[in-house]
């Protein structure tokens, strides 16, 4: 498989092998439209998709079961207790939010930086953001002692004359995550409206016509619509860029504002954001590699995309590695006995194996990406993406659990052992994420049609030639039955 997909690599003038253009071949407007919308409209339900959906849905059932049991029995079903009052649930929250961040990075920051390669992957990366944030948002809620009172976090005039405590990072967190979810949905939907119109145009059954027609809100592709659309799209990107940095910074303040050794650190915000992007790009690869293969999108999601994701992983892994070193250095340099003990315990204590596992997954394995061969090897990238995600999850668990389990008072020291319910909640949200994703790829366009059409024009213009080759047959794709 690797050798087969490596074939678009070609030699540039400088003699270096480069991974080829952003889009392979010269797709016309019609073929782009047909290729993407046919996945939604005409592709029959395949066994692989059905199997994936059923399997993930099984895990959703486990999630429902876990939450129900949790509501009946309380958070005591998990391994949490004093001093480790935050267990897997909070680590899962931080991890899921982080995965979402890569989607926003691709859709917003790379848009502002005019990185054309974002075009084929931004839609499903944004969907990934939404589903990851949905999974993340569950955890702090079900981790509350009384989850049904979660709305007390919302500032609204109430008969109890109470207000949320606005100096608490947990309230900041609520605002940050709910704003992030809202803005991500707006950005995702706005970007999709023109494509919903495109799907409507090709839909044949009355129900599909009705649903996609209503969802497209009467979009006509009018030049004035596009003017407002572009203006709003870029503004949303510009708003989402500081937002995404603020969200994980605020998440890290949940920890950094506390005085617990191992949490109380000023490096936390940038270190959390870098870790978020690292795990998020790993998730992009985990999703993109099977998608491009099973849905034959190798011409749109090319090796160039995979290589660029690998480069981002390499850079963020270096930042995260710097964070690990800095953490150890500051523990030593501070001269604080608690900090020093925390660091030694983190490396050599009961959870030491997890520390070395995360160093291996997040810093050591990723060094292979210095080699182009590794960046272009699809199988290795897939394996690596899974390793990085496990590594990042382990990191979040180590930060939460290991820091807490050695309190200031040795009499309070206690180990945290996850119960079956801790694992069930994690597995359940993984199932929820993939179930939503499986549904998404069949009912909505997973690649932006209008943006790829625009990109194909730009790519053609850049090549200069080619015009004669394709003009005059604007609907070639339809006739070819693509």
């Amino acid at each position: 498989m690797a050798s087969k997909t490596r074939q678009p690599a070609e030699r540039s003038e400088s003699g270096f092998e480069h991974p080829g253009p952003v889009l392979v071949g010269s797709p016309t407007y019609a073929t782009v439209d047909a290729q993407i919308s046919d996945i939604v409209l005409h592709r029959p339900v395949k066994r692989g998709w059905l199997f994936g959906l059923v399997l993930s849905f099984l895990f959703v059932m486990i999630l429902f079961y876990t939450i129900t049991y949790l509501l009946i029995r309380g958070v005591g079903i998990w391994g949490v207790n004093v001093p480790v009052a935050w267990g897997f649930a909070i680590a899962n929250f931080v991890w899921w939010i982080g995965i979402g961040h890569a989607g926003t990075l691709i859709s917003a920051i790379l848009l502002l930086l005019k990185q054309q390669w974002r075009t084929s992957i931004n839609r499903f990366a944004e969907a990934m953001t939404l589903f990851a944030v949905a999974c993340a948002g569950l955890f702090p809620l079900i981790h509350l002692g009384r989850p049904w009172d979660f709305y007390w976090l919302v500032p609204y005039p109430n008969t109890m004359s109470l207000w949320p405590q606005f100096r608490s990072p947990l309230v900041w967190d609520f605002f940050a995550v709910s704003t992030y979810l809202t803005v991500s949905i707006l950005f995702w939907f706005l970007g999709m409206v023109p494509d919903l119109r495109a799907i409507y145009n090709r839909a044949q059954t009355p129900w599909k016509k009705f649903i996609y027609g209503v969802l497209s809100l009467g979009w006509r592709g009018d030049a004035v619509h596009w003017k407002y659309y572009n203006s709003a799209y870029y503004l949303l990107a510009a708003l989402a860029t500081p937002l995404v940095v603020s969200v994980h910074s605020i998440v890290s303040l949940d920890f950094a504002v506390a005085i617990v050794p191992g949490w109380h650190s000023t490096i936390f915000p940038p270190y959390f954001v870098a870790g978020a992007i690292l795990s998020g790009f790993a998730m992009v690869l985990t999703l993109a590699i099977p998608l491009r293969r099973f849905y034959h999108l190798e011409n749109l999601v090319t090796l160039r995309h995979l290589e660029n994701c690998a480069k981002v992983i390499l850079v963020t892994s270096a930042i995260v590695g710097y964070g690990y070193c800095e953490e150890a250095l500051m523990a030593w340099y501070s001269g604080d006995p608690y900090e020093k003990y925390m660091m030694i315990n983190r490396m050599l204590g009961s959870y030491g194996f997890a520390y070395w596992l995360l160093i291996f997954c997040n810093v050591v394995v990723t060094q292979s990406l210095w080699w182009r061969k590794a960046r272009l090897n699809v199988v290795w990238l897939f394996v690596l993406s899974l390793l990085v995600q496990s590594g990042m999850w382990t990191e979040r668990v180590v930060i939460v659990v290991q820091s807490l389990h050695r309190d200031f008072m040795p009499s309070a020291w206690h180990m945290y052992y996850p119960t079956v319910w801790d694992w069930a909640a994690l597995a359940g949200t993984v199932g929820l994420f993939f179930a939503l994703f499986f549904l998404f790829i069949r009912v909505l366009p997973m690649i932006s049609i209008s943006e790829v059409q625009e990109l194909s024009k730009e790519q053609r213009d850049a090549r200069g030639a080619g015009d004669a080759e394709w003009s005059g047959r604007p609907s070639a794709g339809k006739e070819a039955g693509l």
Partner: protein
């Protein structure tokens, strides 16, 4: 019974042809016309008479209102309505109020941007006369369309038709209201 004429619709297969056509039409004095494309074409909105983009100003206003409102909410709650001593911090603790102020600013600005696109474009709208033209369904498959309305002040049936057909168009059709 003959249906009322809404306008003439010319189809092009290249965005540049559409841009050229729209500019030519503007030069001839047409003002009631629309250009349709599957993706944004630089300069096309101006060519069909787009004047001033209000949207960024609305977003600025929305963001400022959100920021001020968010900050005031926290000030009112913490320093006026529900005074609590939290770790000895002042009741009006400005640094602690910054994260939420920022988040609410972004939230309001984003909501304004989203709704402004649709309000300014006159959407959602379930029907429009242009949907009557079969050619319009092929827009998203790579057609670039220019419609000159019959209500245009310089619209003159035979003359406008000749103008549109002379523009390297793939086809020109009548659109009925």
């Amino acid at each position: 019974m003959k249906q009322a004429l809404y306008g003439y619709l010319a189809s092009f297969d290249q965005p540049d042809d559409l841009l050229h056509a729209a500019r030519e039409a503007q030069r001839r004095g047409h003002s009631r016309m629309q250009a349709y494309s599957p993706f944004p074409v630089e300069g096309l909105a101006e060519a069909v008479g787009f004047r001033f983009n209000w949207l960024p100003w609305l977003v600025l206003g929305g963001g400022m209102a959100g920021g001020a409102g968010g900050y005031f909410m926290q000030y009112y709650a913490s320093a006026v309505s529900y005074r609590l001593n939290i770790g000895g911090r002042p009741l009006h603790s400005i640094p602690s109020f910054m994260p939420i102020t920022f988040e609410v600013t972004v939230l309001f600005a984003a909501l304004t941007a989203f709704f402004a696109v649709f309000l300014l474009s006159g959407l959602p709208r379930l029907h429009h006369p242009i949907f009557n033209a079969p050619a319009f369904d092929r827009e998203t498959q790579g057609r670039f369309l220019l419609c000159i309305e019959a209500a245009d002040p310089v619209f003159e049936a035979r003359d406008t038709w000749r103008f549109l057909t002379g523009l390297n168009a793939m086809e020109v059709v009548e659109v009925h209201a």
